[in-house]
């Protein structure tokens, strides 16, 4: 019974939602809208659940004086401090998001703008440093496939630049020649000739064409990579993922896939 009832509810609701999605006429249309409103309300309760779990987890850590309990104190102080700022601003202005200008803002907005935004931005900005380090240490053109991937990536990066296109293209030409020479050494002469030739050809183009022309061509090359080979691959992945999602949905509706019923 404990399992059959949820499975039955899932089946009935699953079939009904599919039907209402494709038949928007009454009574299905109103029914679907009602379900959407319910789903949104349920979404609100999941936020409360999340809040409850977060507070319980950190409160336990503090009470049991576990390792790094200090960070739990910081989390809870930040959580309730922001909540208090929101309530104060709400009481004062009728909304936590009071905004007249960056100089005239409510306390909630102040916490958001001057603490949360810089913190989130800083954490994400670290990515640039780690990518630079990874670029040097891990992105290596060991195989033919890796070389192709790197060349495509560099071309896309060059296309996303508004200055320094020529120096970047020179570096790419050097890379292609070096990759070609390396292929000769590891007894892959055909690939060696191909890479070296492309590298030399790119070098010649850089000498022949003015810098402005190179800067004009680079975004077009990037656009072609994105809209032809990249898109073809992406579309294949997309179709595969969608078919997988459809299959999984059918399995859930029919009760074949039951892992969602229990977390154990």
């Amino acid at each position: 019974m404990k399992r059959r009832v949820p499975l039955l509810i899932t089946f009935i609701m699953g079939v009904l939602m599919v039907v209402t999605f494709f038949i928007p006429r009454e009574p299905f249309g109103s029914f679907e809208q009602r379900m959407m409103v319910w789903a949104s309300i349920l979404g609100g309760f999941t936020l409360l659940l999340g809040l409850d779990s977060l507070v319980k987890h950190h409160f336990r850590k503090i009470v049991r004086k576990r390792k790094d309990a200090f960070y739990s104190i910081v989390t809870l102080v930040a959580l309730f401090g922001t909540l208090a700022a929101g309530i104060v601003t709400w009481a004062k202005y009728g909304t936590p998001l009071e905004f007249a200008s960056l100089e005239q803002i409510g306390s909630f907005y102040w916490v958001y703008w001057w603490i949360m935004v810089p913190l989130q931005g800083t954490v994400f900005a670290l990515l640039a440093f780690f990518i630079a380090s990874a670029a040097y240490r891990a992105f290596r053109a060991r195989t033919f496939d890796a070389t192709l991937l790197l060349v495509a990536a560099i071309l896309v990066m060059i296309g996303k630049m508004t200055m320094g296109t020529v120096p970047a293209a020179i570096i790419l030409a050097v890379f292609l020649v070096a990759a070609g020479v390396y292929r000769f050494f590891i007894r892959e002469p055909v690939l060696g000739v191909i890479f070296s030739s492309i590298g030399v050809a790119l070098g010649v183009l850089l000498i022949v064409f003015p810098a402005a022309k190179i800067a004009e061509i680079a975004p077009q090359v990037q656009e072609w990579i994105m809209s032809v080979p990249q898109m073809a691959a992406r579309r294949g992945i997309l179709i595969g993922v969608t078919l997988g999602a459809v299959a999984m949905s059918i399995r859930i509706i029919l009760g074949i896939e039951r892992t969602y019923l229990s977390s154990t």
């Binding site: 999605f21 409103v37 949104s40 931005g121 990536a153 990066m157 320094g164």
Partner: protein, 314 residues
């Protein structure tokens, strides 16, 4: 050989310092850049530009501070463009921590517009006062209202912020029937029906264009529900990593235009003739790209040399 081996194991803090330098210098020095506009950005610009004045454009804030440098210049530019063309803006959000950013962008665009048209507004006010000396008369009030309508962007009349509601997909589907079922009140708890701008705006039929500024799957979800089901015209402004995901939709015309990454924001700003965060940030992004390309190539060349020597040895 030892030297090359040492170079491959160089202290990563040196690389961090290099990255810091190449990002910081272009930010400190104002470097003028020239931008060629790519077709997806041009399409997004045209989608906004060709709307009739008075049309409603919905801006969906689907990013937060982590994507601020890329997405914020886009929403700023589109808000400015919308106000410049007399469009009305509805702001919604599917990421609660992103909503204040979207609000700041729209409010600042309104402030910028009002500041630009301050002289016209004041002259219209003095004209109204000379025509109707009695400031309590209906004629004066009407003239003042007309002056404000023509020269000022005001909350509730030219833009509204409907705020955040949980449940992305149900909201996207449900708004096809009635926006008020999900957004009965705006972010200030004001009844939506009392906002003049929302009069006659009930579902996607009343929204000329939807623009999603996202750093995740939100654009694809908008396309699947608002676009595919209700035929809503959609443009997107996304971070660099999301761009590849959206090209199939761009080709199938399910996405009218795409503003991709900081470069996209820069291109949009150049079309607007406005120097915003996109234009200011592009030199730093370009120099960072050069450094990353240089490091990739250098690392690979060292790898080639080490491989060749180890092969010869063996």
């Amino acid at each position: 050989m030892k030297f090359i081996r040492w170079l491959t194991k160089i202290d990563r803090r040196i690389i961090f310092l290099l990255m810091f330098g190449v990002v910081l210098v272009p930010i400190l020095i104002d470097i003028p850049v020239e931008t060629d506009v790519s077709p997806p950005v041009e399409a997004a610009y045209n989608a906004v530009d060709t709307l009739k004045p008075g049309s409603v454009i919905m801006l969906s804030v689907d990013y937060d501070a982590t994507s601020y440098p890329e997405c914020h210049p886009m929403i700023e530019a589109v808000s400015n463009h919308a106000f410049r063309n007399g469009l009305k803006i509805i702001l919604v959000a599917h990421i609660p921590t992103g909503l204040p950013l979207g609000q700041a962008a729209v409010e600042e665009a309104a402030l910028e517009y009002n500041e630009l048209h301050k002289a016209e507004y004041e002259s219209a006010l003095s004209k109204a006062l000379s025509t109707h000396p009695d400031t309590t008369s209906p004629g004066y009030r009407l003239a003042v209202e007309e002056a404000a309508l023509a020269n000022q962007k005001r909350y509730g009349i030219d833009y509204v912020n409907l705020g955040f509601r949980p449940g992305m997909v149900p909201i996207m589907v449900g708004m096809g029937r009635e926006i008020r079922d999900f957004y009965a009140q705006d972010y200030k708890s004001t009844n939506v029906d009392s906002l003049p701008m929302m009069e006659g705006v009930h579902n996607y039929d009343d929204i000329a264009l939807l623009a999603s500024f996202a750093h995740g799957i939100q654009v694809e979800t908008w396309i699947a529900y608002a676009g595919a089901r209700y035929g809503q015209q959609i443009i997107a402004g996304v971070t660099g990593v999301v761009i590849p995901d959206l090209y199939p939709y761009l080709q199938s015309k399910q996405l009218t235009g795409l503003i991709g990454g900081l470069k996209g924001a820069n291109e949009y700003e150049s079309l607007l003739g406005r120097k915003g965060l996109g234009t200011k940030g592009m030199p730093a992004q370009s120099t960072a790209h050069i450094l990353v390309i240089f490091l990739i190539v250098l690392g690979s060349i060292f790898e080639f040399i080490l491989n060749i020597f180890s092969r010869r040895k063996s």
